[in-house]
């Protein structure tokens, strides 16, 4: 009996955040009325289809290729991929077949504390297709469909991994890391639910130790990170049972059915297999000079890996904390911004990871939607450090800041939360509490140290928690030991 391993390669499409389409000036904005963001070029109207390349889309793609450690093609060249389908206006898709923008790159991420490297076979730029909606339940039972060409021609970047991924979990981690890098570059919002990030998986299994690949299936229609994970898990398991029952896997395209949690074969005749790719005669090549590459390089921010290194090595943060902080650029930028106000990496990172993320999660919010500013948190932490408020009060203030977006000083002032560090005031309160609790004094003197805790509690209650705890302890001790 062999043990089998899963071999996975991913094909990821992301829509680029340009204002206009890849080959025409139509808007790429999401959610417009159908067929209102179209022109003769993206509709493929005879006589009006000459494609005009959007320079920014090319720059974004080169930027991504550099960030994914790819070799950059010497020219921007496009080819036609010919096939007939309802969402394809021209009978061909303009893509990069012979000269993908980037080749031979890689992504690294941590799996169980160990660094895993997955190769990037290639990365290329192409046009998106229009969008089909089906009358009725689904594509198979639908009597007719409707097309909206607003999306046709939106710049799409495809990233093809090497078959280096070995599990559904690795696939998920790969995707997360890829999304994080692309978001750091600010070239796509990578929302799987909205379709601005899409993922297909090539899956096969083989006996452990084998160097040959098994027959693969292509899995489509996974619309979230969770469904990528579940879909791959299911499909790998399905292939195992096929092989174990003595049959062989049929190479085919399969659909992930999220509701039923299964994969199903799609009729392969839908799309012709022979795309007859050849250079688009309407798009002469555009040279990619070393100067241009250098210019683009300058626009690449510090990426997650470099940041992680800085946080663990220079700021001495634990790797788990650094990983959380660098997983999104917004979070990492927030962290850095707080440090510029309050330069205490440990405190700042703890507050962000435990307090801030806790509040965000509970509210189901994204950091970009939050009212908390880095300066606000910085000031709050300064107040705590200076002893103006206690850490505990700090948390209350932070919650208030989260809800209202107000300045911490204002909240402290308004709610009278400033810590009481005045010896005379505290002595008076302590005397009153002691006078009211003679029993506790006795207990303490008999050696019941817990009575001390009770008395501190009473004092804090009297001061609405605003008493400086260290000072209370000191003064109370003095009083009791008199």
């Amino acid at each position: 009996m062999h043990e089998y391993e899963t071999v996975i390669g991913l094909e990821v499409h992301v829509e680029l955040l340009t204002d206009t389409k890849l080959f025409c000036g139509c808007s790429t904005a999401f959610g417009a009325e159908p067929n209102t963001q179209v022109c003769p070029i993206c509709l493929g109207l005879p006589g009006g289809t000459l494609p005009l390349l959007n320079k920014k889309a090319a720059e974004f793609t080169i930027k991504a290729a550099l960030a994914l450690n790819c070799e950059i093609a010497p020219k921007i060249a496009f080819d036609r991929k010919n096939y007939f389908y309802a969402d394809l206006p021209k009978g061909f898709q303009i893509s990069q077949y012979f000269y993908p923008m980037g080749r031979n790159g890689y992504i690294e991420f941590l799996v169980n504390g160990k660094t895993k490297r997955v190769g990037i076979h290639q990365l290329h730029l192409e046009e998106d297709t229009g969008k089909l909606s089906h009358i009725g339940d689904d594509i198979i039972s639908s009597p007719s469909s409707r097309v909206d060409f607003n999306r046709a021609g939106v710049p799409l970047m495809e990233i093809v991994s090497e078959p280096d991924i070995r599990s559904a979990e690795e696939a998920r981690l790969f995707l997360q890391k890829l999304r994080s890098i692309i978001r750091y570059l600010d070239i796509s919002d990578c929302k799987m639910e909205e379709g601005s990030m899409r993922c297909d998986a090539n899956i096969s299994i083989r006996p452990v130790g084998s160097t040959e690949f098994g027959k693969k299936t292509e899995l489509k229609n996974m619309n979230s990170f969770r469904s990528v994970y579940r879909g791959i898990e299911y499909e790998a398991e399905r292939q195992r049972s096929v092989v174990l029952s003595g049959e062989s896997v049929i190479p085919e395209t399969r659909h992930w059915d999220e509701a039923k949690g299964v994969t199903r074969a799609m009729r392969s005749k839908l799309v012709s297999a022979d795309y007859r790719c050849f250079p688009d005669p309407n798009i002469p090549p555009y040279p990619v000079t070393e100067e241009w590459i250098q210019e683009i390089k300058k626009t690449i921010p510090e990426l997650p890996d470099e940041r992680y290194k800085r946080l663990t090595e220079e700021h001495d943060l634990p790797s788990s904390t650094a990983e959380v902080l660098t997983s999104s650029k917004e979070l990492a930028d927030f962290y850095d911004a707080v440090l510029s106000v309050h330069n205490e990496p440990k405190t700042v990172s703890n507050w962000i990871v435990s307090e801030y993320l806790g509040l965000l999660n509970a509210a189901g919010m994204d950091i970009t939607e939050s009212k908390i500013t880095p300066a606000g948190l910085g000031k709050l932490l300064q107040s705590i450090a200076k002893g103006e408020i206690s850490g505990k009060i700090g948390k209350t203030v932070f919650e208030e800041m989260f809800n209202t977006g107000e300045d911490p000083a204002l909240i402290i002032e308004k709610k009278g939360l400033k810590q009481i560090s005045d010896t005379d005031t505290l002595s008076r309160i302590i005397s009153a509490v002691l006078a009211a609790n003679p029993q506790s004094i006795e207990d303490y003197r008999k050696g019941k140290k817990r009575a001390m805790g009770f008395l501190v509690g009473q004092i804090m209650k009297e001061t609405k928690g605003q008493a400086n705890p260290q000072l209370v302890n000191k003064l109370l001790m003095e009083e009791l030991n008199k």
Partner: protein, 482 residues
């Protein structure tokens, strides 16, 4: 009045000086167009409204005392070139009702200069060949003798002087050899010299909009108007446009040129004695004019026709992929999407076109891609190199325009597309993107002339026009009566 006999500059001068009114011209053009249409079926349909609209625009401008370099000049427009307010059919049933919501860049320029379109001229479907027999809108007859083909409606209209000039695409020579069938000069400019925006794509790496006109001076005036960079055509060039008409006035600068003739020029299939004789006589004339004529070896020239046919078939297969009955054009309903495609295309396209596209699909599939299509693109490299090196030592290449006179419409001898024997001498200029001019010289044929052809260096149209003018001087243009 016989101002239709004027060269365009003279006519425009008279219109600007208000010696001739646009209305007079309009009536005359409408009358002549109707006559040539009746005789030759030169237009897709004769549409006097198009003329009226054009005349109205010009009248307004003239009334405002605007001086327009082509004021009152009428032109025929091949029905592969888009103009507002009417259909663009490419002589195909597929596009019978297609109305492009935009206008070709060349048309916009010409209108700006005061010219007006008088009609959409008939052609072989999608300009594949010029047999005059492959139009959905009927056979195109030669104005010299209606038993013979005109090749294209544009040639029929210009040679009958129904219009001052015509614009038509040249993919493998159709412009030049149909002009020769009707005894008029024609010019195919350098690839990218004239914008293709608004020309329906068939084979984008070969197609170029060219000019037919009664005289070389007219060709020069129109070339000057329509040349130049167009930001909407990525394959157009930014080279400066000289004043071709001025260059032609400096008569003392014309020639004598160094002219190369391929030594095996007479090996063309179907080469007729009349054509051969006219060519040899012209060669003698050039020598008499002190041209330095030399036979050269161009071993790959004879492959240019087949090479161009292969490349054209693949590019056309792809470029006509947008004809699917979805966004425009004929739709024939089917029980499912792919069947609807097949029915629409099968009923919308003519027999020759279907065979041609199928050939294109065949030779770009699987192994044939490398064995046929790519091989042809390699042969193209050799042909280009051969012509380039020849034109380094010579000013011009001199060859016939077409091996035979206008064929009888009743004969199918030469009505073949794979390859089209009429393109034997013309396809090379398309493969290499070089400019070429054809000039009628006296010969025993239905038009009383035979076309001879000069091919020049890229962007050296001036020399072609100068050489053409020299030949024309000796053989003033003749025209059939309508």
């Amino acid at each position: 009045m016989d101002f239709y006999k004027h060269i365009v500059q003279k006519l425009a001068g008279e219109v600007n000086a208000k010696e001739v009114s646009p209305q007079q011209i309009g009536e005359d053009v409408a009358r002549r167009c109707a006559a040539v249409h009746e005789k030759c079926n030169a237009f897709i349909k004769f549409d006097p409204e198009l003329i009226e609209k054009g005349i109205k625009d010009i009248s307004q401008k003239i009334a405002q005392n605007k001086k327009l370099p082509l004021a009152g000049v009428s032109f025929g427009l091949s029905d592969a070139i888009c103009v507002g307010g009417t259909t663009t059919t490419c002589a195909s049933r597929m596009l019978e009702s297609y109305r492009p919501p935009f206008e070709a860049s060349v048309v916009l320029k010409l209108k700006e200069w005061g010219a007006f379109p008088a009609g959409k001229t008939n052609m072989d479907e999608f300009n594949l060949g010029a047999t005059g027999k492959n139009s959905f809108f009927g056979e195109i007859k030669n104005p010299w003798d209606t038993e013979y083909t005109a090749g294209s409606g544009a040639a029929a209209a210009v040679s009958s002087r129904a219009v001052n000039f015509a614009l038509a695409p040249d993919g493998c020579g159709e412009l030049r050899y149909s002009a020769s069938y009707c005894g008029i000069p024609a010019l195919k400019p350098t690839y990218g010299r004239v914008s293709r925006k608004g020309l329906v794509d068939v084979a984008p790496s070969l197609d170029q909009i060219g000019i037919m006109a009664p005289s070389v001076l007219d060709l020069a005036a129109i070339l000057e108007a329509i040349s130049g960079y167009d930001p909407e055509d990525p394959t157009s060039f930014a080279h400066e446009v000289p004043s071709y008409t001025l260059l032609l006035q400096e008569k003392e600068n014309i020639g004598p040129f160094k002219v190369a003739v391929p030594e095996n020029w007479a090996e063309a299939p179907y080469l007729e004695e009349g054509i051969k004789k006219a060519f040899l006589e012209t060669l003698e004339y050039l020598k008499k004019e002190n041209f330095q004529v030399q036979m050269v070896s161009l071993p790959n020239f004879s492959h240019s026709l087949v090479t161009a046919a292969i490349i054209r078939a693949v590019e056309a297969f792809s470029s006509l992929g947008n004809y699917d009955g979805v966004r425009f054009g004929l739709r024939v309903e089917g029980s499912h999407l792919q069947e609807m495609y097949r029915k629409s295309r099968t009923e919308g396209f003519g027999s020759n076109l279907k065979q041609f596209l199928t050939f294109g699909a065949l030779i770009s599939a699987g192994n044939y891609y490398g064995m046929v299509f790519q091989k042809a693109q390699k042969m193209r490299t050799l042909i280009i190199k051969e012509l380039e090196s020849c034109l380094q030592s010579f000013d011009l290449l001199f060859i016939p325009a077409v091996p035979f006179q206008a064929p009888l419409l009743s004969s199918n001898d030469k009505a073949c597309l794979l390859p089209d024997p009429a393109g034997y001498y013309t396809a090379a200029a398309n493969l290499a993107g070089l400019p070429a001019i054809t000039i009628p010289v006296p010969a025993e044929s239905v038009s009383g002339s035979a076309g001879v052809q000069f091919i020049g260096k890229a962007f050296d149209e001036a020399k072609l026009l100068q050489a053409g003018l020299l030949l024309e001087k000796e053989n003033p243009p003749r025209f059939p009566n309508v």
